[in-house]
Symmetry: none
Subunit: 227 residues, 2 copies
DNA sequence: GCTTTTTTTTACGTTTTCTTTACGCGCCTT
DNA sequence: AAGGCGCGTAAAGAAAACGTAAAAAAAAGC
């Protein structure tokens, strides 16, 4: 028999964590707990659970940030729990990458059934969040970039730029898309930003910045990270 | 523009079908309707929709049977609609293979968001569209062309030219159409562009550029990409 | 409040790509 | 057989896109 799937419960209320543990463990799940948004992100990144149950009502920054951060590198199924019942919230969260949404109070059997549905779906692409490109390691989960095992310090804009490329590693990302994702939809015309930050990234993580092996230019189209 | 995803609505109430059609068509879905369980099964089998919205409150045998029958041969995402709110029902339906469950009255934006989630899951495992023409591979998503597995560098215009031919692989594309799609409607007279770029493409992706096997000339008409 | 870091602005040299121009070949018509 | 026509090839000039450096402005850290 396999060891049960690991499921991460992110909730600040101890009572809720206890209830979930009591409900999930008899079903064969191995329950991991996190009591804050920060801890949730950390656990998700380090433990790589097969499922996540996320309470929106977290005190420190809210669960929404957790979902966003997880979705930067992982496709793990996330079920949202919440007390409120606002429509716009549901829609926004689902579009942000949440896979299901339950309002408290919920029925435990329904929760279990919905988790089974998520498990059924989960067999899809389990992408390795640690990207290796030659001498380069990009860990989207840990927000860390290494070259030859040594950590490289990137500014936040540089990291965002690299992140966009890494998420579509091997594929061309259009200038428009990069600008939109890094600088926002209002800056899609400032294509010179791309040249400047491409140069800065190459200076930091290419062996020979004038002969880039990783960050490749596709003239007239965009940039591409060699995978 | 692609034709929208086809979505099958199974519901005996005409008012509900009308509401769903009115909500879904503006989103780009192509709506198929069935007013009974029997019709639902028949439509699902013959039309193979990409999504199914199924009302449980059907008179003839109930929607449960529809779900069971569909699951015998298809993994199409099914979203259940129902008036009742009994826990055991939800659990049973979800375990029977339903992918989501909404109770009436429901909010249309939430329905749409949940349908988007189901679409996301359905597309997760699907490989990207790869156009194959003999030893040639054209990956439209990655903006990349390979020959015998080896990447070929194309300029933006060369790529556009090839893309037009590839979209109608095997068929003749007229000079007019190529010029219009690559250089815009104002350049339909510059037929010499075609000769230049056809030559460049042949130089890059034919084994013997003077004996083209892929990019064939149809004298007086246009060009054709052999499949 | 000042220093340090990061982002944005500005400017210019270089490379790549696109367009223009020119010429050779084969074929059909006259 | 000469000349027009459509196609293929080559190479030059024009234009666009890219890379780099450095200063000004803004933000972050102490």
């Amino acid at each position: 028999m396999k060891p049960g799937k690991r499921i991460l419960v992110v909730d600040d209320e101890q009572a809720m964590r206890r209830l979930l543990r009591a409900s999930l463990e008899p079903e064969g799940y191995q329950v991991l707990e996190a009591a804050s948004a920060e801890a949730g992100i950390r656990e998700a990144a380090s433990q790589r659970p097969e499922l996540v149950v996320l309470d929106l009502g977290l005190p420190d920054g809210g669960g929404e940030a957790v979902l966003k951060r997880i979705r930067e590198w992982s496709q793990v199924p996330v079920l949202i729990l919440t007390v409120q019942d606002a429509d716009e919230d549901k829609v926004r969260l689902l579009d942000l990458g949440a896979d299901d949404y339950l309002t408290k109070p919920f029925s435990v059997p329904e929760l279990l059934a919905r988790l089974r549905v998520l498990e059924r779906h989960a067999n899809a692409g389990a992408a390795e969040p640690l990207l290796r490109c030659g001498d380069l390691e990009i860990d989207l989960a840990a927000h860390q970039v290494k070259r030859l095992g040594q950590e490289i310090k990137l500014t936040s804009t540089e990291y965002d730029f690299l992140k966009v490329l890494a998420r579509h590693a091997g594929k061309v990302v259009t200038q428009r898309q990069i600008l939109k994702e890094v600088w926002g939809p209002n800056s899609v015309e400032h294509t010179h930003y791309l040249r400047i930050y491409a140069a800065q990234l190459r200076k930091k993580l290419e062996a020979d910045p004038s002969n880039p092996k990783h960050i490749l230019t596709e003239p007239g189209v965009g940039y591409r990270l060699r995978g």
